[in-house]
Every structure is written in C-alpha cells, then in structure tokens.
Amino acid sequence: MLLLIAGALAVLSVRNLFVATMLLGIVSFTMALIFISLDAVDVAFTEAAVGAGISTVLYIGTLALVGSQEREKSKFAPGPLAVCLAVGAVLYYATYEMPRYGQPDNPVHTHVAPRYIEDSPTEIGVPNMVTSVLASYRGYDTFGETTVIFTAGIGVLLILRQRRRRKKEVTTEDPPLRDGKGGSISGLGSAHDLVPHVISKLLVPFIFVFALYVQFHGDYGPGGGFQAGVIFAAGIILYALVFGLDFARAVVNEKAILFLISAGVLLYGGVGVVSMLLGGNFLDYNVLSSDPVAGQHLGILLVELGVGITVTAAMLAIFYAFVGRPELLIETSTNAEQPGKERN
Amino acid sequence: MMFTLETHVLLSLIIPLLGAIGIALTSSVPNIRETVTLVTSVLLCLNVFSLLPGIMNGAEPAVLLAEIVPDIGLALKVEPLGMTFAAVASSLWIINSIYSIGYMRGNNEPRQTGFYICFAIAIAATMGVAFSGNLLTLFVFYEVLTLSTYPLVTHKKNADALKGGRIYLGILIGTSIGLFLPAIIWTWTLAGTVNFVKGGILEGHASAGVTGVLLFLFMYGIGKAALMPIHRWLPAAMVAPTPVSALLHAVAVVKAGVFAVLKVVIYIFGIDFLTTTGAAEWLTWVAAYTLIAASVVALTKDNLKARLAYSTISQLAYVVLGASMATSMAVAGGALQIVMHAFGKITLFFCAGAIYTAVHKTEISDMRGLGRQMPVTFIAFLIGSLSIIGLPPLGGSWSKFYLMLGAAEADEIYLMIVLLVSSLLNIAYLLPIVARGFFYPPLGQSDEPVPVGYEKSDFSWRNIQEAPLFCVLPPVLTALACVVLFFLADPIVRLIEPILTP
C-alpha cells in the first residue's frame, strides 16, 4: 500500500517521462496485486493487462514520438495544491461516517448484491459472478463499455490519421523518433537480434492460446472477452515489436481491423437485437434458447466474443496508429498529392 | 363594413405586413413598389376607419393571436384611445407615403426597398401597439417597433448613423428590457393579470410604496415617451431621412410611447387609484421639468430637425403631464395632445424635409429668406407652429385648453404657470424660423441658389423654387388638417370620453 504512495510521489517528482511511465506501470501493477488481495481477481487481471501493459506501451509509443524529457522547471503550484487538499479534506471528512471497511452488513453488501451472489448461479448458470453480472445483469453497461473502446478506436484513428497541412516541419521532426529511450520500438523492429526473434516466435502462439483460453473460460475463472482481447492484442503487438510493423500488418491489416472493431460492437448489439426480435427485451438472453440458462450461456458467450473482437481490434488500431504515425508523416511529405491511398 | 370588427382589427396588422411583402416582391420596379406602398396605406386607413363607427357605439372587439405565456396571450382589443391613435397613425401614413416618395427620389437615397419594407413593418407594429389588449402585447409590439425602426434610423449607414443608431437602440432597448419588462412581470405577479381593464388592475394589490416604484419603472421603462433624462435617443434618431423623422419620430414611435403611458395610467393603475395614493406626484414634476427644459434646449439648437426633436420631447411631456395629473380633464387633454401634436409636428417635419430636398439646408441660420423662395412650405410651417403653440383656430389649442382645465381641476396653480411659460417658449423657438424665412433677406453667398442681384427683390413667382410636388403637397394637407381638427375636437372628445368616466 505504502508502495503505491511512494510510487505515485515518485511519478510526480521524476522529470524524465520515460521513468515516470515505468513508475506508473509499477503503480498499476502494485494496484493489481492489491486488487487480488481484495478478492477482485478479474479486476486485477484487467488492471495488470491494461494499466501495466497496454497503457505503458501507449505511453512509450507516445514518448517515442514526442521526446521524453520534461522541461527543467521545478514549480510549486499553490493553487492546485490547495484545490487538491480541499478535495482530500472533503473525502477525509466523509470517511468518518463511512461504513466500516470490510463489514458484511454494509449497505453495499445487503442491498442488490446478494441477489447476484445467491441467484446468479441458478439464473445464469455461470460460476464467475463477475462475468454474469458483467454480461447479463448489467450487460448493457458492458455494451456501453465496448462502445467506449470502439469510440476510442475511432477517435484515435480520426486524430492520428489526419495529415498535417504544414508540411515543411515534417523533416525537422523526425529525430525525436530515435532520441527517446523507447526509440527502438517505433515500428522498425529489432532486426538483428536473434534471441528475441526466436523467443517471441515461441511465445506468440502461447499467448494466443492463452488468450483464447481466457476468452472462453471467462465463465468459470477470472477473465473474459476484455482481458482476452487485451492479451490477444498484446501478442500481436509483441510480434510487431520484434518483427516490425509491416510484418504485423501483413498478418492483420488495418482495413480488417476497422472491420473487426465494428464487427465486435455489431455482434454484441446483434445479440441484443435478436433477443428483441425473439420477444424479449434488449439483451434478454433468456429467449435465445428454450432453456433460459442455456440461453444465458449462449448469450454471454457471444457477447464476450464481441467484446473480445472489438477490444483486440481497437487496441491494435490504436497501437498501429501510434506506431505508424511517423511513416504517415514521411509518406505525406513525399507523396503529398496522393495522401496515403494504400492505407485507406 | 365588409367584415366583422374582429376581422378588421386583424386586418390592421395584416395589411401593412402584406404590403411589406408586396414591396419586397416588386423591388425591381420602383413605380410599382411605390404604388404598392400607397395602396397599402390607403387600404389600411380605410380599414381602420371602418372600425370607427363600431367603437363609437361602444363595441370592444378583441382578438387572441397566440398564447405566449399561459393566461397571457398576444391579444388585441380595440378601445377608444387606441382607436384614436390608430386612426391618426394610419391616416398620416398615406400622406407620409406620398411624401416619402418625393423625398427619397428627390434625394436619390439608396436602399429604398428596405426603407419601405421597414416602414410598413413599423406601421404594423404601431397598429399592434394601438390595439394591444394587454401589457405583454403592448410590450411585444413596442419592441418590434423599436427594432423595425432601427434600420430606418441608420439608413444612411455612415458613422453618424451608426452612432445615432447605437444611442437609439441602446436607450430604447435598455429601458424597455431593463425597466418596462420587469414592471410588467411584477404587475403580473401582483395582480395575476396584465390585461387592460378599465379602472385599473392594481388597486388592492399594491401598496402605495410599491405603486410608486412600479410607476417609476413604467414611466422610465417606456423610453419612447422621452421623459428627461432618457430623451437622448430622440435627437439621435434625427440622423434618419426626414420621412422617418416625420412619421415615426413625430407620430408613430413617440406617440406609441406616450400612448403606452396613458394606457398604463388609465388601465393598469387606474386614474382614481393614482389620485388616492398620490404616487404620481413626482411624475408631474418630472414632466413639468422636461417640458420647460426641452423647450429651452430647443431654443439653443440651430439644426432645424434637432430643434424640432427637442420640441417633440417637450410636447410629449404634455401628455405625460396630463396622465400624471390623473384627472379626467387632464387625461383627455393628454389624449387630444396625441392627435393634435401629431398633425402639427408632422407638418413641421415635412417642411424641414422639403427645405432639405429643395436647397439642402439643415441649419436654421442658413434659412434666411427662404420663405420667399418656398412660400407654400413656410406657410404650412407657420400653421403647424401655431397649432403646436396652441392658438385657435388650430387643433393644438384644444389640447392645451383641456390640460389647463385639468390643472385647474387639480388645483395646481404652479402647473398652470408651467403650461403658460411653455407656450411662450414654444413661440420663442418656432416662430423665429418663419420670421427669418419671410422677413430676413436671403443670404447673399455663392452657395445660395438664389442668384445675386435678386436678393433685394420682393416676392415674385419667378423666385419660387419649391421642392417636388410630392414633398410640398403633404405639409399643405397636414396643415389644413390642423385647421380642420379645431372643429373636429368634439367628436374626438366624445370618442375617448367613455374611458374617462369610470
């Protein structure tokens, strides 16, 4: 716990952004461990994959593009500090009448939640309650969540696929690509290192298998579409890092990715629509099969698949967009008349 | 009568609006466009006058246009006072249209289509003000009037126009939204209605103090009544072409202001209620002050239109004075003043415009001897002046007479003195213009269109260089009307009598 605070303070004070990013990753990872101790295995899984994994990759990808040194300036900001202290004080004030931590008779545990704990195994037939709540009781939230990822994917594509109008600066901005410590990841691959090549070749299939396991085993253990998607994406990203972006593109090209992002959302929504057509409410899986429990099973399976597809594709899209950015710039500067035809 | 009274009421609004559309459609052919204007104005006038017999018989046609706020709609209701106002405005519009054509063409003004459209809309708004059935409707049309006249005021689109337009809009919108509107809403929360009801609606709902504050809000909220110190917009509006000044700033707009004052005093506060609370005491003195002060300022102005503007401010104060004395005679005097002053003042503006069209003079000191060149114009000017001063046998004498009676009724000796002094001041600032015109020799300077060598000669037909016929005819007509009105005072008083007797 104290490690968290130490980590956070370090993040605040460190001036090198690369280090800060790493520290953030550590904080996330510690957080994941704490989540496990708090019985939140699913969340821990996700936090580890996302907070410590994907987001770190994204940060590094960004730093590679923008440079990693914060400007030398130590400033003390009394205004923000006062605001923070005020916010903290309000919360601290609030804690005094909060229900005691971990007590079974807290309102959180007595209202609503018992239903999930007691009835979900019979109503849904899925042992992992988190999955059943996620995909069924609050399935719509998860649909929203998938949409959020979809939105992020679209948004990143919109923003990073824009070509700049001012072309003259392009050449001067290339150097930062190699300045930062993460320079080597910028899509070109570590062409001469045999060891990583072999190891990753060995690893990638296992990662995919593991991802599939997580995907379809989410009903029983921790995991599910989201985590699986992240892992799947991580596999491809690893591949891209080692062999270069072009190879990865050969495996999954960007058009396919865009298609997949959409397909995932549509699959999820489609399940909902089908359930509507079958006379139930939106996302009412009971009607999907003659047996409600089997229907729930089927529904959750499909929905999780949809989540998995969208997450994988969106993560890849974001990754490609970041890593592919420099190419795009060079492309634009040399080929301004036909802005990147092949990429569309 | 072709239709029911209600239809005629509606038509009064619709005719000018249709006219505006017609003008827009025929903008490419000036002759047809002007014909549309004239036909519209004649139709409107006929329409308004077709209401007259019904109103004389005590009918009160009402029309609900729309409900803006629950329980308060845009409602039209014709009562004698509004009838009077509408009749004056619509009949003067015909004359003014003729005059506009002469003036606008004579001066080759640009953007004439826009001018006529805005003019028609302004007239529609005036009709709306005249026939409004409640405060809200009055307010709505009052604002429409302000906004539709803004393009007219700034017609010249130069720096002066811009500045004048700013003052015009700033004061009128400022006071109406800042004071008038809150007063309306306040009235609504107090009385639960804002309908114009004979005898007032506030009695029993408001204490003396609140009444005083409300009256203050109303009187200064109705900026168009040009009470000092919010009179600045009226001189500012003189940057407009003269037909605008003539009809709108001597008749429609300013009269809408004082008309609103009368309406508020009579139908919202109630004459008796005001008398008993004495809340209007201060208003009397403000009006009296405005009356004198504006006259004095008028004396100092060399620009003819500016002088007329201050004269208007002073004359408007008569109406407010009449309202504030809150006796039936005084209110009758106020109502008469609306009519009489309208004809008198429009004559003067027409003359000012005719002079400008003919010789492009705006300063009084440059107008020496012009009477010999433009005798008809100057005689009309003389008649208008006399009417405003209040000499028989001209219409203006009646309004002054009733106001005096009202002051006497209220035992206000000082006010009678004020009225007397003011009449003297009127003489002092109006008659010298005529006197210079006729009795002084013309300026012998080179820019004087009268050729050197003729300046000592007496009147001769060869010297006459009047403005175009369309510019000269209207002042003659209105001057005649001033005379005629002297004999028509009785029917007008009978028309508005019902509102004075509770």
């Binding site: 005094y96 999930y116 009781y137 959020v148 939105t151 679209i154 959302v265 | 939204i177 800042g178």
Partner: protein, 498 residues
Amino acid sequence: MTALSSQFPIIVAIVPLLAAPICALFRGTTLPWAITTIISGITFYVSIQLMIAVIQGGPISYELGGWAPPWGIEYVVDLLSGFMLILISAISTGVLLFSRESITREVPDHQLGLFFAAYLLALTGMLGICITGDAFNVFVFLEIMSLSSYALIAMGANEDRRALTAAFQYLIIGTVGASFYLIGVGLIYMMTGTLNIADIAARFPEIEGARPILAAAGFIVIGLAIKLALFPFHVWLPNSYTYAPSIITAFFAGTATKVGVYLLIRFIFTVFGVNYSFGGLELTDILLPLAVLGFLSMSVVAIYQTNIKRLLAYSSVAQLGYIILGIALASESGLMATIVHIFNHAIVKSGLFLSVGCMFYVAGSVYLKDLHGIGRRMPVTTFGFVLGGLGLIGVPLTPGFISKWYLVVASIEHGGVIGYGLVALLMVSSLLAVIYIWRVVEVAYFRDIPEGAEKKEAPLSMLVPTWLFIAASFYFGIETTFNVGIAKATAAFLMGGS
C-alpha cells in the same frame, strides 16, 4: 406495432449506436452522411412517439436484459427525459441536414465515415444519458459522449491547430469531471448499495444526513458543473466551441452542456430531493452566486471577443448561468424557467452557430475583421443571425423572451433583496447581450465590404436548415404550448416528486 413500440426506449439509444460501426466502414462522402441523417431522423421520430406515450400514460420503464431494477439496468422515460430526447434528436437532425456541404469542406473526405461514426456515438451518448435510470450507466454513456466529442473537436485541427489543444484541455478537464462524478456515485453506492436512480431516491431519506452523502453530493455537483461548463468551470468550453468544425459546434452548443444540466436536475430534484438539496445542502447559496457571476462576467467577456464563434461560446456560458439560476431558485417557476431555457437556448444557439457556419463557408473566417459588410454579402444568412441574436437578447416574440419572463417571475417570487436584485442583474445581462450581438450587427452592416469579396450566399442546403432553426425559435417564441406546457408539467412533476 405494439411489440415494436414497447421497445422504443431502447431503440432510441441503440439505433445510432449500431449505426456507428456500420457508418465507420463506409467510404465516400454521401453515404455516411445519408445514413447518419436518416438514423438521427429515426431517433427523432421515436422520441416523439415516446413523449406521446409518456404524456398519455405516465413514465415508461424498460428493463434491459429482462432484469428487474435494481439488479438490472433500467431505462426510464419520464417527462423530463422525453423532453430532452426530443430536443437532442431534433437538433441533431437539423444540424445534420445542414452538414452535407459544410463538413466536406472542413474534414477530409477519407475521414468522413469515421467522422460521422463519431458523431453518431456522441448522439448515442447524449440520448443514453438522458434515458437511463442507472447512475453508473450514466457514467458509461457520459464517457461515450465525451470521448467522441474530444475526437470531433480535434477534427477542427484541419482549419486551426488550436483545436488540438482545445480538445486536449477538454479531455483533461472533462475526465476529471467525469471521475468526480464517479467518486460521487461510488459514495452513494457505498451508502445505499444500489445504483438505480429511483432506488437510490427511495433509500435516500434514511441516510441523507450522513457525511459521505454530503461529500457525494458535492462531488456530483462539481463533476457535473465541470461537464456543463458552469462558471468558473467553463474554461474548456470557449476554446472547444471556437475551434471545432462548424456543425460540431452547432450540435454541441445545443445539446452537450444541456445534457449536463439535465443530469444536474436529475440529481438535485429526483435523487437528493428538493428538501435535501436546498435544505440540507444549501445549494442555492452555492449555485446562485456562481450563476449570477457567470452570466454577468461571461457576457462582458463576450463583448470583447473578436471571433464570432468565441463570442457565441462565451454567450453560451452566460446563458448557462440563466439555466443554473433557475435551478438555484428552487421553485417551480424557477425550474420551469430552466427547462424552457434549455429548450429555447438550444434552438437559438444552434441556429446561430449554423449561420456562422454559413459565413465560414463563404468567407472562410469567423473573425469579425474578416466579416466586414457580411450583411450585404450574405443578406439571408446574416439576417438569420440577427434574428437569432434577438432571441439571445430576449426580445419579445423570440423564445429568449419566454425564458427571461419566467426567470424574472421566479426571481420576484423568490422575493427579498436577492429576488429584486436578481431582476436587476438579469436585465443588466440582457443589455450586455444587446451589446455583443450589436457588435456583430454593426460589423455586418456598417463596414465596407472588403475589396474583391464576392457577394454570394451559402448553398441552399445550408441556408434552409439554418432558417429552420431560426423559424422554429420564433415559432416556439410565439406558440408556446409545447415548450412551456411541457416545462410546466415537468417542473410540477419534479417538485412534487420529492
């Protein structure tokens, strides 16, 4: 048909959502636009049907996934949310009709598919927020709306690079706001054990004195205040509105902040209840000064702007002050003023931004210095702008007048020095509005047309929707049975519901 109509609540949100991925896949300029417009039209139609159903039969509840609340997520359509649905979908449709010509100029062709997908997602987010009955679901849709809006605003970078920083600033502030909201909801969940808004409201009286609830209320109000750009949390708004593509500005100006206001009303009146909000929390004391400061200071700031979009953006913040003022007065007439003004301001402001969009289309700039004599270059557009501006000022026959009327009524009812003081301040603020609108008018009509500027109107496909908004604003300013009637019923419903 009955089967379908029983699904209407979900259809409203789900149709644009599902259309978004489809739209993202299409290339070309026409198809994505056509899809988006049709979809938006469908939501508009469904919203109206829902509203009719609500008026006839009371609030509608829809259980997602067939799970009864509070276990499942519930969609609730009552008067307020129905009203918001209609407003949002109507404005969206109108803006889309306009967008065809405008957006092809401001956004590169190959991105239009994605652009409209993001637009649909923003629409989904707004509709979802308004219709859901679950506090956490609100957060999810809030984020859908926000994320897509960051991206959409950043699209303005094609014209002005400052769009990027504006979007980034909005992202940071918006995320902090959303997180505040999340903390607030967490605290409430902690105390009540439920996330369903109706359920929270039902359990609220038991725990309303507790400190965490106080903190929760604080976090939610502040979080939402950030989202709705209440002064002094408005810093993100002027930049975002200024640099976003024209149609995005028009769309968001009418809807995005209004959604925040909707949530605030929901929480203050439905969840916390009037007694707690204004008795326990003294929200009046907090919101009222902010609202007043907001509309006064922002109107003044608006006067000094040299960019029309920025001027209107500041005016938006000022107008939000009016809206919040109505809430702060905590009376039925105040609330009514708020709801009426949400509606009126949305229409007027969207119309204004669209007319500015026309100007941009022709003149290529929205700086006052480049728009000299625009009133003569583009008479139709500029006249529309002037009429819309009159609506902002609150001239009678415009909807702004209706709003102002009720605000003043509410202030007078509030009584005392504060009430009458407010009346005076409201009037001062209206006059400030006159000044900033008239600055534009004078530039438009009194300055000489620059050399070489051609006299040309925007294409009809842009003019017609613009005038649709302007005409609608006048319609609702005169025939007020729809907006005022619903507002009145809603206000009574919300005040009585506590």
